[in-house]
């Protein structure tokens, strides 16, 4: 399988060694900053330097006992969960429709549906700021949920759409020929099969909202500040170790999301391998 077997000449060996060395350095570059910030959150000192003078949980204590940080965590959860649910409904319906729709306008519609991912955050944020302010949607949870849903739905359309591509439509036809109503066929046949795709879509949607900060910067009032927004202010003012504690909490959420996604992918591959 591996290309290693084709390495024969010394020059190839040198090239391969160089690839490994450079890649290792890049891996360190990618991962080291995230690993370096973590131990600092357990430091007993308020200086963000190594070596740590001692270990303590005071910064986590600080985080948990600060109404500001806890409120921002709560806001991130509310907005994240609500926009995930909304984008799941809109995105799944659209993916189902797009899978069946045949038209020369389809690429155009698809491009429009996916465009919120490509358009720079500041442009969307400025547009929403002008558009939502006169109708009272700035400084409100609803406005942020709607905005985050617009950003998150493309990921749902992509992941669910990819799942539907590998879905055998004959199964739906079989269900219909056996007398299932369209709703029954969806609930009992289609849904169980595309569920892993839906779950990945939901994870992407949640991660998108949970990480978003530009729109929150423009639209959130003091009441709706999310965790990334609070970190933005914190980094701007001065970096206290409490921010590193917040960073560890955020990273833990990311790792859990990534691990769940990987587990879903593996399960999907296993099913494909053993199934039809």
């Amino acid at each position: 399988m591996s290309d290693n077997s084709s390495i024969r000449t010394p020059s190839q060996r040198i090239a391969w060694t160089a690839t490994i060395v450079v890649s290792t350095l890049v891996f360190i570059f990618l991962i080291a900053p995230i690993l370096a910030i973590m131990p600092l959150s357990f430091s007993s000192s308020s200086y963000l330097t190594y070596p740590l003078p001692g270990l303590s949980l005071r910064w986590y204590d600080d985080f948990v006992n600060s109404p500001r940080w806890m409120n921002s965590l709560k806001n991130s959860m509310i907005i994240g969960v609500a926009s995930t649910l909304l984008s799941m409904v809109l995105g799944t319906l659209a993916a189902l429709g797009l899978a069946q729709w045949k038209s020369r306008f389809k690429p155009l519609v698809l491009a429009f549906v996916l465009s919120p991912v490509v358009v720079p955050g500041v442009i969307t944020a400025v547009g929403l700021y002008f558009f939502f302010a006169p109708i009272g949607l700035t400084g409100s949870y609803l406005g942020l949920i709607l905005a985050h849903t617009a950003l998150a739905t493309p990921f749902v359309v992509i992941t669910v759409g990819a799942t539907l591509q590998s879905f055998d439509t004959n199964l739906a036809r079989a269900a219909a020929s056996l007398g299932a109503s369209p709703l029954q066929a969806f609930r009992r046949v289609i849904l169980p099969l595309i569920l892993p795709g839906l779950a990945s879509g939901a994870l992407f949607a949640f991660a998108t909202s949970f990480d978003e900060v530009v729109i929150v910067l423009f639209m959130a009032g003091p009441e709706q500040r999310t965790l990334p927004r609070e970190m933005f202010s914190g980094i701007r003012e001065n970096i206290s170790p409490t921010i590193t504690a917040a960073a560890v909490i955020l990273t833990t959420v990311s790792v859990v999301l990534l691990a769940t996604l990987e587990a879903l992918r593996r399960r999907n591959e296993r099913l494909k391998g053993s199934g039809s």
């Binding site: 290309d3 290693n4 570059f29 900053p33 370096a36 739905t153 359309v157 990311s254």
Partner: protein, 420 residues
């Protein structure tokens, strides 16, 4: 209906069946469209509408029209060659009196001041010193006495240019251009001509970050595509973990690492490599390092998927035909990775163009990209026309590049460059 069916059954059975099938297909298509419709309407309200609104603001010109309506009407037929007639002066005096009563002079003054520096003073001082509507026939003289600027043609052409309802003023300003008193497009005065430099800076930072991502990402993608799946999946975590980590966490991490008492400087000092802390952050270096870190996975993933699709048989064939390894790599392998290189580079470049958070947090004043100024003019100085015009230029660049990207990945999977 029954008749038709009967004759159909007798004559040619396939026609009604065809028709029925076509009708069923049409119903299916309508239903499919009905499923997409909620999302389209939603995006119209939360995405397309707001962006269209922003684009409209980049050409809309309402302030002078609303505050000085009679003046705008009186200047409608003015040819702009000489000073306007007494009517225009009388209209202006009456408008100013009304605007002072309504407290709206500042709105028009702000708009006119963008076009002609010092106009704010002209208008507010006139508003303050105009005691009453001048006697008929004396408006020109009265206004000229209050402020001699009213005896200059440029003052009046500025008002006429700003009388809307649409204007190219902000879009021209975003490109360091302006109209002179004769209406010709000329270079903007040097103190206002800063945006080309900012666009150039944005372009250069994005280009540099894209190049760095390509140089660093290529060997990694090659390694991941060449290793056996077990090991490459394990190493993929090193790419995916940063990808999934919050942008704020990564930016914060770089500040902690690179600041003057940060981990990197401390280590270098301890090792004796340097005597005094290096300035690694709040400058261009910090911006490039942090942005490369954030965007590198967007380069590695499309490169990886394009390399994964290259069969090792090609390289073996090249070797068996006598090509030296370097020649085989340059002539057989590299050309096949070009779509991946193109997709990855374009994606990184597009994303980099719109960057705001990272430069705002780790850059100095001279490293802020175009997004920073759009945000600044929106929330701080409330020059919404200029913010929208700069946004329109950035949006145009992004859309054009995205179209090229779309052409490039056509045929490749839609998800190629997206997350995962």
């Amino acid at each position: 209906m029954t008749n038709a069916l009967l004759t159909g059954a007798n004559a040619s059975t396939d026609v009604p069946l065809k028709r029925r099938l076509r009708r069923a297909e049409r119903t299916r298509q309508v239903k499919a469209l009905a499923l997409v419709l909620p999302l389209l309407l939603f995006l119209l309200f939360t995405f397309a509408g707001p962006i269209a609104g922003m684009l409209w603001r980049s050409v809309e010109d309402w302030e002078v029209r609303q505050v000085l309506p009679q003046t705008v009407a009186a200047l409608a037929n003015w040819d702009g060659k000489d000073l306007p007639d007494e009517n225009a002066y009388a209209a202006l005096a009456s408008d100013i009196m009304a605007a002072r009563a309504a407290g709206t002079i500042a709105i028009a003054a702000k708009r006119l001041n963008y076009a002609l520096n010092g106009f704010r003073t002209i208008l507010t001082s006139t508003g303050r010193n105009l005691k009453a509507v001048p006697e008929p026939g004396t408006a020109k003289e009265t206004l000229g006495k209050i402020n001699p600027a009213w005896r200059e043609r440029a003052t009046w052409t500025t008002i006429k240019d700003a009388s809307g309802p649409i204007t190219g003023f902000y879009l021209l300003a975003a490109l360091d251009l302006t109209r002179n008193a004769d209406g010709a497009i000329v270079a903007a005065p040097p103190d206002q001509a800063i945006y080309r430099d900012i666009f150039l800076r944005t372009f250069l930072i994005s280009l540099g970050v894209t190049a760095l991502c390509l140089i660093l990402g290529f060997p990694v993608a090659y390694l991941l595509a060449t290793l056996p799946p077990g090991r490459s999946n394990l190493l993929m975590i090193f790419v995916l973990l940063p990808f999934w980590t919050s942008l704020l966490v990564r930016t914060c991490a770089w500040i902690v690492l690179l600041q003057s008492k940060g981990v990197v400087n401390d280590s270098l000092l301890w090792l004796g490599i340097i005597d005094a802390p290096l300035r690694l952050i709040y400058n261009r270096f910090g911006v490039c390092v942090a942005m490369t870190h954030v965007l590198l996975p967007f380069m590695i993933l499309p490169l990886y998927s394009s390399m994964k699709a290259i069969s090792p048989a090609y390289m073996r064939a090249a070797a068996s035909l006598g090509a030296p390894p370097l020649t085989a790599f340059l002539r057989i392998y590299l050309p096949q990775t070009l779509p991946g290189i193109g997709a990855g580079s374009l994606l990184v470049f597009i994303l980099a163009l719109g960057y705001y958070i990272t430069p705002a947090l780790v850059g100095g004043a001279a490293d802020q990209m175009i997004s920073y100024f759009i945000a600044l003019y929106t929330t701080e100085t409330a020059n919404w026309g200029l913010a929208s015009a700069l946004g329109a230029v950035l949006l145009l660049a992004t859309v054009l590049l995205a179209l090229v990207y779309g052409k490039l990945v056509q045929g490749q999977q839609v998800t190629g460059g997206m997350k995962n």
